[in-house]
């Protein structure tokens, strides 16, 4: 045990102490001899590359993985959980990286999942609805608690899942990439709530790839690399470069600039228009949207979560039908009745939610090949060709583990995201629409994606990047349109722009 841990022991038992934790999946080590220490009333930031083992350690704490090596002490007492329920009973609440809400239940039921208030043995509906409304309000969410969860945007669902855990009374709260679908004001509000939770003496583990967020909200930061804990340090003494150096290695400290400074947009107004939307509207989601995507240019569509940009992207891919307006691809007017027609017209789409893009129980290569099967085989499958294609992408995108037969469910979140992108890169589409393309990726992987997408642009593709993360749009786009409440309110082209100006416009 290291010095800090001993110091902590002298101060009294820490809230949570993990000692010598090792865990492997089918012979592959995910965690090697990890010690981890969480104090009462602390926000502990956890960072590391994709696949470093962050989620695995947290799942052990939350009782999801029951088989591991090592010890866990809570308030100095030995703990061993057989299931997530055990952990919950011991006061551990976790928001998983993948949304785990129940789309068919109402918002209120989701907030009170597993502990609905009852009155004389019956569910106390009015109490539940009122309770949910109040809890959500403190996170600044204004939704009808009786609305079905599935009808809400993914960002709202994420907030509601956060509410469930934050207000569950858990003493240890684990948040695995809780802000990946949130826009900046919501993130700030969440941080306020987290600080409040900390003040009440509870402990929070906060995993994120947004190092600025980590450094602004946490008291202590632990860095993981390759299944090992590299270092734990108090936040006051460190900066972003220091963290990146320990996360990925030296020479990468310049990654993920903050974009607070000015960025010059390299728009190409003379390039041919590939996709053109005219006065496109979809009931309630967005209205009167006109935009052009040019070949060899990356168009950024920025807007806060829930401003209609997600629905717009789906409409362009034929998943939603526009109520009015027209769409033309490469000069031809098109009306898509399904996604297959959009794909045939040369549109590729990566949705914001990995779960709606990937087949978890299938190997990586089948995930990659599904969208191009029609191009590489007519009647008979050609698994060898599929694997070759997948191998190329796995190498090009640096997907870990580099095994195309590995089950997708075993990949870490960021690597899954890369697989979702790889699906469309075999045959060049005309228009590539990316919704939140770097969600859940580490700084290195984000940089990879930026390079890949720019490479595609340079090959003449029209790329549309839709995101609620200003960094994503700023790092990629040559031209930016800003959406607000379902309408395009501003376009930035051929000028210099900064994060602040972008946020102001939205």
């Amino acid at each position: 045990m290291d010095a800090e841990a001993e110091a902590a022991l002298r101060e009294g038992a820490p809230r949570l102490h993990m000692v010598g934790i090792s865990k492997s999946f089918g012979g592959v080590a995910a965690l090697r001899d990890v010690d981890f220490l969480l104090r009462a009333g602390e926000i502990h930031g956890l960072v590391g590359e994709n696949g470093a083992g962050k989620s695995t350690l947290m799942k052990i704490i939350a009782g999801v993985h029951a088989g591991y090596r090592g010890r866990m002490l809570i308030d100095g007492r030995e703990a061993q959980f057989r299931s997530a329920r055990d952990a919950l009973a011991a006061g551990i609440g976790m928001v998983h990286q993948e949304l785990s809400v129940v789309p068919d239940l109402t918002v209120a039921e989701n907030v009170f999942l597993g502990k609905q208030p009852t009155k004389r043995g019956m569910i106390d509906w009015p109490g539940m609805v009122a309770g949910a409304r109040q809890q959500l309000a403190s996170l600044g969410i204004d939704v009808d608690p009786r609305a079905p969860m599935g009808s809400l945007s993914i960002g709202l669902q994420q907030l509601i899942e956060l509410a469930r855990v934050l207000f569950s009374g858990a003493r240890i709260i684990i948040l695995d990439e809780p802000t990946s679908a949130l826009s900046p004001p919501e993130v700030q509000r969440l941080f306020e709530v987290l600080r409040g939770v900390r003040a009440s003496g509870r402990s929070i583990v906060f995993i994120s790839h947004f190092l600025d967020d980590i450094l602004s909200v946490s008291d202590t930061v632990t860095i993981f690399r390759n299944g090992r804990r590299v270092v734990t340090e108090a936040v006051g003494k460190i900066d972003k470069g220091w963290v990146i150096k320990r996360m990925i290695g030296s020479g990468h400290e310049g990654l993920e600039e903050s974009y607070t400074g000015a960025i010059t947009l390299g728009s190409r107004p003379s390039a041919p228009v590939m996709l053109s939307a005219r006065e496109l509207s979809a009931s309630r989601a967005f209205a009167d949207v006109s935009l052009d995507a040019r070949s060899g240019e990356i168009l950024g569509v920025y807007g806060f979560m829930g401003c209609g940009q997600i629905e717009l992207a789906r409409t362009l891919f034929g998943k939603l039908k526009p109520t009015t307006g027209s769409l033309s691809i490469d000069g031809q007017v098109r009306r898509f009745h399904n996604t297959n027609q959009a794909r045939r017209a040369g549109i590729a789409f990566v949705p914001e939610s990995r779960r709606s893009m990937l087949f978890y129980q299938e190997p990586v290569y089948k995930n990659v090949s599904i969208s191009v099967l029609g191009r590489i085989s007519r009647l008979w499958l050609r698994p060898a060709a599929e694997r070759d294609i997948a191998r190329r992408h796995v190498a090009a995108l640096n997907i870990r583990p580099p095994d195309v037969a590995a089950l997708l469910a075993g990949l870490s979140g960021g690597n899954q995201q890369k697989v979702a992108l790889a699906k469309w890169l075999t045959f060049m589409p005309k228009v590539l629409i990316l919704s939140e393309p770097t969600r859940g990726m580490d700084v290195g992987a984000k940089d990879d994606v930026v390079k890949i997408v720019r490479g595609l642009r340079d090959q003449g593709l029209a790329v549309i990047v839709v995101s609620a993360e200003p960094e994503t749009v700023l790092s990629l786009a040559d031209r930016i349109v800003v959406m607000k409440k379902g309408r395009i309110v501003r376009e930035f082209a051929g000028e210099t722009i900064s994060k602040d100006r972008l946020l102001e416009a939205a």
Binding site: G20, G27, D33, G67, F317, N338, R343, S356, L379, A409
Partner: protein, 341 residues
């Protein structure tokens, strides 16, 4: 101060453990089959013989052909409750278009054999298309749509035979249903062909891959540009046509076409698919599983006859086996979901 790394109670799962957990969907039914075989072989000397083996296969043939189509549907996470009704309607249709003996008093339309078979196939294909239309275009849940189709199939059957029994079917159908070649009943060969074709389509063709992907994650299939509705529609039609063929050879096998002839077969066909380990949630399983499921069902039915068991108890035992298989099926799914975390 060092703390010895202590083995957790459920220590690191070994490779063997992981392998078994991944394959339990296939291992559990296979083990069930072996146990049943061993049990009946010991309990009855007349059970484990070549003749009886052929018997078992013959007995499951009609169920088996239906189960092939149903496998496609269940792999897509849908259900088809109309298989037995469509089989019945098709079997009666083929008799309706065949010249019957004079004592059969049905106002039918005798046609040449091939026309009769063609029309009967058309009937089941159309019923399948109606199922497909209802589930994909109108978006009626397949459970409800095929429940309605079950009634429609029964209605067609009733209208065509009007309470009578027809006996004659085209020669080809008679041969396939009740003939034999070199000691092997044709009906077993038909089953074999359906199983092989079903397996090849599911494993080696693009369409088969789409079936698994649509069952595994429908939304993801759609976002990958797969025409999900076409796939779902196609499996409904495939299921109906398989049922139709099963109905025709079934009629020939039993020697008569009448109403409610296949009523018990709906449950058997579903049981064969599910007991074999194909997931009711879609995306997992296949014809291999269905084969094992069929064998379990066949061995169970046939073996219980050999050990002279109370025939009422037989029904209960079958029910219990089905329940256990369903429990395993759902349990395995939960196990996987938990792995995924």
């Amino acid at each position: 101060m060092t703390v010895p790394a202590q083995e957790n109670a459920e220590a690191q799962p070994s490779r063997v453990g992981a392998f078994i957990r991944n394959r339990i969907r296939n291992i559990a039914p296979f083990a069930t089959l072996i146990i049943l075989l061993a049990f009946f072989s010991i309990a009855s000397p007349s059970f484990f013989t070549v003749d009886n083996g052929v018997n078992v296969l013959t007995q499951v043939s009609v169920t088996g052909v239906m189960a092939v189509g149903l496998t496609f549907v269940i792999l897509c996470a849908e259900i088809d409750l109309s298989v037995a009704a469509i089989a019945n309607a098709t079997g009666i249709a083929v008799a309706y278009f065949t010249l019957q003996e004079s004592y059969v008093n049905i106002p039918n339309i005798p046609l040449p054999g091939f026309a009769a078979i063609g029309l009967a196939l058309l009937v089941c294909a159309i019923l399948g298309l109606v199922n497909a239309f209802g589930t994909t275009i109108i978006s009626i849940p397949s459970f409800i749509m095929t429940l309605a189709m079950m009634q429609i199939g029964a209605g067609i059957s009733a209208l065509l035979v009007r309470g009578q029994i027809a006996y004659a079917v085209p020669d080809l159908v008679t041969t396939l249903g009740s003939g034999a070649v070199g000691g092997v009943p044709w009906i077993v060969i038909v089953l074999g062909v359906f199983l092989v074709v079903g397996h090849v389509v599911l494993t080696y063709t693009r369409f088969g891959r789409y079936v698994y992907m649509v069952g595994g994650n429908r939304e993801a299939a759609e976002y990958s540009g797969v025409n999900v509705k076409v796939v779902l529609g196609a499996v409904m039609v495939i299921s109906a046509v398989c049922s139709g063929v099963a109905g025709m050879i079934g009629v020939a096998h039993f020697g008569s076409a009448q109403q409610n002839e296949f009523d018990g077969y709906l449950l058997d066909a579903i049981a064969a698919v599910v007991v074999g380990g194909t997931s009711l949630f879609g995306g997992r399983g296949g014809i291999g599983n269905t084969i094992i499921g069929l064998c379990i069902l066949g061995v169970l039915n046939n073996g219980l006859d050999h050990v002279q068991i109370d025939s009422f108890l037989k029904i209960l035992i079958r029910g219990i086996i089905l329940l256990v298989a369903l429990i395993i099926n759902v349990y395995v799914q939960n196990l996987r979901d938990r792995e995924r975390g």
